[in-house]
Assembly symmetry: C2
Homo-oligomer: 504 residues x 2
């Protein structure tokens, strides 16, 4: 799709970049009250639903329509994301919205209950895709592709309890970038983290931090601490809660709910509460107990290399080695990462919005092999941008600032001050369209001039072409600038050229 409304990109960057806006700078156009904008933005969620024969008109639970205003914002976000993916040489790929049910089976661990199944209407058993990673792995295996750098932007569906305030929906977009293939260690992994930094910086969402860990280090910790292998999964999911719960509560869950010995739990606690930079990697290398574990050593070695590359990329200070990061999905095998926004109160009026992670990913070297009859592996590493959550943040800021966004790109409006000029208007506008000029007119036989001009002002259309009796007689057209209200007469045959000159 082509670029959207460049004219008003600035309006949005002002919003996004409010922290960086010089004091005293004003919004470009703040024409509506906050409540009006909020109403427009959240129309699909807040409007009362009508009843008709016991049937309530609504969108399905956890889903929403995107209004034109929301579409403009979303396309801007996707534009930043996709531009970055392309800057890193990724190719596009699309897969169907649903997969054979078996393709999704045993890929998501505890989350598998959240998959939407299609009804058996005679034929194959199908499920809506849960992410874009498993379909990508299926594509690679099916087509025996051994090497590929691809991006994919598409909707995925999860039957979660929607918490719309946090920007969590049952239908949402994912924007994925993945590198498949056997390469020298940590170069693609470092590029993934660099991409996350570029996108999060580009979106101007405020400060952020990327937590990294490695599945092998976690497994190593569990082993050396004495966790029985059967409990790895359960303990891992407890550890993952450390970003929302205190160690005391997590410890309680491990001991009471998961039946882990207190002394084992405490040993784990000593590790998973650590986070820091490259020096923590070094420290863990020196750890007399952990360094006995081969898996952990491999993970630490890779992280050391990763930090070295991140330093060369100039993003090491954005990345923190966080031993509590576990990530839910089953398919990760090595380095894992998750980006969180640092909750600086951006604006006094802004309510704190807990959006959770806004980007995440990791290495999954075994997933493609699960689809290959001989188990041939294709190592992969990738990332996913949580655009829906990012979108919630941007929406919230827009609510506060009451910014008006152009939802069309119309450049010229064809108007008349007199009756019986529909034919002339239709001939004129067809000429403009055929010349590639974005143009509109009123769908009325005899519109009054004032409503036509008001429409242009409301919609932000910069130019008006006016044709009436006198113009027709003189073979001219009046060209009016909406902003300055200046009008000039232009020879009919020069009109297109003049408009193109003014628009360029």
């Amino acid at each position: 799709m082509p670029q959207l409304g460049l004219l008003h990109w600035r309006a949005w960057t002002v919003l996004l970049g409010q922290l960086r806006r010089p004091p005293g700078a004003v919004c470009i156009r703040a024409v509506r009250s906050h409540s009006q904008v909020a109403e427009a933005l959240f129309a699909s969620q807040l409007k009362p639903y009508q009843e008709k024969s016991n049937f309530i008109i609504k969108t399905p639970k956890g889903t929403r329509d995107l209004s034109p205003q929301q579409m403009v914002v979303r396309e801007k976000i996707l534009d930043v994301v996709v531009s970055c993916f392309k800057r890193h040489g990724a190719k596009g790929l699309d897969t169907p919205a649903f997969e054979l049910k078996e393709v999704l089976t045993e890929k998501y661990g505890e989350d598998c209950g959240l998959i939407y199944d299609l009804q058996d209407q005679g034929g194959e058993l199908l499920s809506l895709r849960y992410d874009l990673t498993v379909p990508f792995a299926r594509y690679l295996a099916m087509n025996k592709v051994k090497k590929m750098k691809r991006y994919h932007v598409g909707k995925v569906w999860r039957r979660e309890s929607p918490t719309i305030a946090q920007g969590r929906y049952r239908e949402f977009y994912q924007c994925d970038f993945d590198i498949a293939g056997q390469f020298d260690p940590m170069i693609p992994d470092a590029e993934c983290l660099k991409i996350m930094c570029e996108i999060l910086s580009g979106l101007q969402l405020g400060d952020f931090l990327i937590k990294v860990n490695d599945r092998r280090i976690l497994d190593g910790i569990f082993t050396v601490c004495g966790v029985p292998e059967s409990k790895f999964h359960a303990i891992c999911s407890s550890v993952d809660k450390l970003d929302k719960m205190s160690w005391k509560d997590v410890r309680h869950e491990m001991v009471v709910k998961k039946g882990l010995a207190p002394e084992v739990t405490d040993r784990i606690g000593d590790y998973v509460q650590c986070h820091g930079g490259i020096s923590l990697v070094e420290q863990m290398f020196q750890d007399p107990i952990l360094s006995q574990n081969k898996q952990a050593l491999e993970g630490l070695g890779d992280l050391k290399l990763l930090f070295e590359y991140l330093t060369l990329f100039g993003v090491a200070e954005k990345v923190s080695f966080d031993l509590s990061l576990a990530r839910g999905l089953d398919y990760y095998t090595g380095v894992i990462y998750e980006a969180v926004l640092l909750q600086t109160p951006v604006h006094a009026e802004e309510e704190p919005l807990n959006v959770g992670s806004v980007a995440a990913g990791g290495r999954y070297d075994g997933l493609v092999g699960m689809f290959d009859p001989r188990g041939h592996k294709v190592p992969c590493v990738g990332l996913s941008i949580g655009v829906e959550r990012i979108f919630s943040i941007v929406e919230q800021r827009m609510k506060i600032f009451g910014e008006k966004i152009r939802t069309t790109e119309t450049q010229v409006f064809v108007a008349t001050p007199q009756k019986n000029f529909l034919q002339e208007r239709l001939k004129l506008i067809a000429e403009l369209w055929d010349a590639g000029i974005k143009a509109e007119l009123m769908y009325k036989n005899n519109p009054k001039l004032l409503p036509q001009l008001h429409y242009c002002e409301n919609m932000g259309i910069p130019l008006v072409v006016i044709i009436g009796e006198q113009e027709l007689k003189e073979g001219v057209i009046k060209l009016r600038s909406v902003a300055s209200r200046e009008e000039v007469a232009i020879k009919r045959e020069n009109l297109v050229a003049e408009i193109q000159k003014r628009l360029s």
Copy 2:
């Protein structure tokens, strides 16, 4: 999403515009054999599927993956379509992939059996959307929107028997443009037909024709010919087959299968075999029997006005009044239309591809009212572009011409001729990325120079930045043009500026 690979747009227009290509003009780059390209393009359909524990890896019946080559072509098609919609002042809108089952009920007539239902997993009963029109009407009613010009590009799903050779799939994109609101007659309708012409011309698919008719004229014909009202639907669907079957066969179906009296059938035959331009509208006005019918007269009056506006838009000669056009969907209430490609044998090698209609639409004044508790109507008219079928045609032409399309937009490759230069390459490429330059490197510690240069040639990357021992010592970088193989040394600090200069 941003614009895609402008560099190679020309390669595709050469393909699309083969009829207009001057004799002797050559393809820009035809580096692969036909079969190789075909293989690449149809990889997802033709590759043998592997078996693993009785499980065949495939995409669901009637669906497909889109490879990077296909994605580039599709995005180009969508770009033409969406640009046109925006040229006509449309706003974007998005709706969920699924709707409450009840939203889709009783909207599609005989086709309702083709709707995909989701499994009842506890909660609402849901169905995948069948088109973008019903969700649009639901949106208007739900939000009490009385006036809107919107476009929507999105996937829809239909459980049809897939005939992939005709470009028919169970999952496919629709590109819809609709105008909702009470306006003076036929102005928005004429704009819809103008848009169809602009898009089909813009896509350079060869000559096309748009058939128009009006539901009220059809109903009038059935009434004056003596069809019992209970048989309107059945007879309408027989009439609709006249584009694929002879009148003799359709007549047989009406009389034998649908039990219509032969003399009634013959009266219908006299009408529905007519097609022509505005003069046929005039002729029907004079028809002593049909002109007795109020509904038919209304329809004819509107068509007369429509042709007048189409003449002003300069597209009347592309439009044919075709009394056999009926359109399957239940919700149409007035003018209906359908665009077909005229099957000129474009190329000797090209097999005739029956793609059916490539765009269609009509007026549906009652649909929004079906969702409103008080039945408040919002008149609508719109069109849908059958991008999937258009895509099939383009794909087939590409197969024949064996064109290579760039699937990435990479501008610069960072290479080295020596060992131990990974660190320098990483530092360099980060600089390029941070300057917004699209850049790649090999994920190897010590790659050989030749494979690096070959990669650039294969992928169409125009520039190579080379860093080695000597360059490092002298504080320079070698910049190589892949096409000319010329190399120049550039001061390290001027590199980004020099690259940007060359790329602009």
